[in-house]
């Protein structure tokens, strides 16, 4: 069947043929991802241990500056997960493009009242166009262990309570010789990274860092929001829109009460995401303007 959208790639036919019947490369990928996730979550302390020691190593290298260590550590995580993010973006773009595909729209209309047949047809189109409907989910799933391990890693490394310091000491490898290093110096710029940040401005105690977390999260989700399709029922676009509202609010409140070291991580991560999306040409600056998305929609 002829591809109706220029952006959607067709699969390499010989790849699927080499595998046993009933097995596709996508199935193998899914199995591999699930296997990796099981491995990570059953060896949770190993994952955290690796990350804690990476953090301590960076801290030592940069001259005992925990703020710089968090920033560099975030960059390291971003670099490691770069291919996964890129693949996720590619999958998301393909799914987005699919919304504008004429054949796709036709089957949506044709089988609107027959959900089972619609699902079958959708899977057929996915197969024909070489799109994995989970293509944007799998890379995200692989990142889950890293993302979930990040919070305890930073919390332990800050060591602002006896228990977190004890855990830090239990995770630190012998070769790190952390005895003389602990406690890590949590001072960075005007902040104590072990405490929630407040800055006295005009007699008011303002949570500057939490506000920056909220703003950068808002800007990042806005910039990376895909242009809406013509379909008013486009669930992906609706989800993105809601993410753009709830995520900044959620992370703002999270940053209000937790150690500011975590806020430094969120800000760095948001800025790096914007940089990565920019380098891949996926940033939509018009989204920042009021009504910017509507203009995109009109152009389409």
């Amino acid at each position: 069947m002829k591809n109706t959208s220029n952006k959607i790639q067709t699969p390499e036919p010989q790849q699927a043929q080499q595998l046993p019947q009933g097995f596709s490369t996508e199935t193998l990928k899914t199995v591999a991802v699930v296997g990796l996730l099981i491995l990570a979550f059953t060896n949770w302390s190993v994952v955290i241990g690796i990350m804690v020691n990476a953090m301590i190593f960076i801290y030592r290298v940069v001259g005992h500056n925990f703020g710089i260590a968090i920033i560099l550590f975030t960059i390291l995580i971003r670099v490691i997960t770069w291919p996964l993010n890129a693949q996720q973006m590619k999958g998301a773009t393909a799914m987005q493009d699919m919304q504008n595909d004429k054949e796709w729209q036709a089957i949506q209309k044709k089988y609107a009242k027959d959900k089972e047949k619609l699902a079958q047809e959708q899977m057929r189109v996915y197969r024909e166009k070489g799109i994995n409907p989970f293509g944007s989910c799998l890379p995200t799933l692989i990142q889950f262990p890293i993302l979930f391990a990040l919070i305890p890693t930073i919390t332990y490394a800050i060591g602002s309570t006896p228990l977190s310091l004890l855990k830090l000491s239990s995770y630190a490898y012998e070769i790190q010789h952390v005895t003389s290093l602990l406690p890590l110096n949590s001072k960075f710029l005007w902040m104590d990274l072990g405490l929630p940040e407040r800055t006295l401005l005009f007699g008011l105690s303002i949570p500057v860092l939490a506000i920056i977390v909220g703003l950068t999260t808002f800007v990042q989700t806005k910039l990376t929001m895909p242009p809406p399709s013509g379909d008013s029922n486009d669930q992906a676009a609706q989800t993105s829109k809601m993410m753009g509202i709830y995520m900044p609010v959620m992370l703002f409140f999270f940053s209000l009460n937790y150690a500011s070291g975590l806020a430094v991580y969120f800000i760095t991560s948001n800025l790096l995401a914007i940089v990565q999306y920019s380098m891949m040409g996926k940033v939509n600056w018009r989204n920042l303007l009021p009504g910017g998305q509507k203009q995109d929609q009109k152009k389409k």
């Binding site: 305890p152 006896p162 239990s170 630190a172 005895t179 407040r198 609706q238 809601m242 959620m250 999270f254």
Partner: protein, 388 residues
């Protein structure tokens, strides 16, 4: 609409997951005075009848009035102290950095009564982790911000205005003062001996509040100093050594090399000092040191896991040791475990147990119960359930 609601629920669940994925963040505070035990279990301080385990009252800070922007929940995990007048001093480890004195004789009519707040001090800039020390009419409260706040017990105000703190000193790195004071000071009535997580031990004159001497150990000191029966000051640290200080001059020497980091405060029993360590990847060791001979009473005893709590000397002379995995060992003078209380599978014991005469109280985290009372041979008397 349903999808939107579902999405909001997922986001909220993610927030909860994100907040909770570090597991427990602190261990509990536990102290006893007369027939009442005080358990600080993060959310509140519970006063518990040591004979029955019944909850007498509970304190969870001031009632919040409306939306408090930027204020975080209060967190109670420091062992409360009781003044001679019967007030209970409760530091909050939350971001409000508040310290309360409550009157347990003046309780509300709630189902679980709440004591009235007599005074509140909120001048500190860091978390309260150290247990404050009462000397006469004054409260010496070390804070994570590096200050020792000296409060008048009658009204909770600083003894001078502005807030009286201990005079800063320059350490070897040129820093103005130590930071992260996490442990209760010791005192001989003339001086205050303070340890810091930043490797410092220092003595302060209680008349002038000036630092008399200062020493830098090569490891963090999470436990308190203790004055031994020989008049010397003993301090354990991450440097895997028990140090003996001359309290007059600050001159010190290492008297015991340990296998792991010393967390808890050594305990005095006659001429002996008992303490434990956390040996990463190995477990924990229990040490008995004779101050008279300057030697260990036998080889260190290896236990199943790390020891952060201080040992407890029981009324029958045995020494009770709680380990990280929640196990309890009663050790006799020969170094044999006379009884052993296995914990339930997931519980952890980091807090120093307390003795009430005929009972021993042990606090657990990640357990079905926060507090258990045992008799002197290890039989359960009552438990204080988790979730309160």
């Amino acid at each position: 609409m349903r999808k939107k609601i579902l999405f909001v629920i997922i986001v909220l669940l993610a927030a909860v997951l994100l907040s909770g994925c570090t597991g427990s963040t602190t261990w509990f505070g536990l102290s006893v005075s007369g027939d009442v035990a005080y358990l600080a279990n993060n959310t509140a301080v519970h006063a518990v009848d040591v004979k029955t385990g019944a909850e007498l009252w509970s304190f969870s800070g001031e009632k919040s009035t409306g939306f408090s922007f930027g204020k975080s929940p209060k967190l109670f995990d420091v062992s409360p102290v009781v003044t001679a007048d019967g007030l209970v001093v409760i530091p909050s480890s939350g971001n409000d950095h508040a310290m309360f004195a409550v009157n347990p004789k003046d309780l509300s009519a709630d189902k679980i009564p709440v004591p009235t707040i007599v005074w509140k001090f909120s001048g500190a800039k860091g978390h309260w982790i150290a247990v404050p020390l009462i000397i006469g009419e004054r409260l010496f409260a070390p804070n994570s911000d590096g200050n020792i706040y000296v409060l008048d017990l009658s009204d909770g105000k600083s003894v001078k205005t502005p807030i009286q703190t201990i005079e800063p000193f320059k350490d070897s790195a040129g820093n103005g003062k130590p930071e992260r004071l996490w442990s209760q000071p010791a005192s001989d009535g003339k001086r205050l001996y303070v340890t810091s997580l930043d490797h410092s031990v220092f003595a302060i004159d209680l008349e002038t509040y000036k630092v008399v001497w200062h020493a830098d150990l090569s490891g963090a000191i999470p436990g308190s100093p203790v004055l031994g029966p020989d008049g010397m000051l003993y301090v354990g640290s991450y440097a895997k050594q028990l140090e003996k200080f001359d309290p007059a001059t600050g001159k010190h020497e290492a008297v015991v090399d340990t296998k792991g980091w010393i967390w808890g405060t050594p305990v005095v029993d006659g001429d002996n000092l008992y303490f434990g360590d956390v040996a990463s990847g190995v477990g924990g060791y229990f040490y008995s040191y004779n101050t008279k001979t300057g030697k260990l009473n036998g080889e260190p005893i290896k236990l199943d896991s790390g020891i952060t709590a201080s040992p407890l000397v029981l009324s029958d002379g045995h020494i009770l040791v709680a380990t990280e995995t929640g196990k309890l060992y009663a050790i006799d003078a020969s170094g044999s475990a006379v009884w052993f209380e296995p914990a339930n599978a997931k519980s952890k014991a980091y807090t120093t147990p307390v003795s009430t005469g005929d009972s021993v109280l042990v606090s657990y985290i990640e357990s079905d119960y926060y507090l258990i009372a045992l008799d002197n041979v290890g039989h359960k008397k009552w438990t204080f359930p988790a979730g309160k």
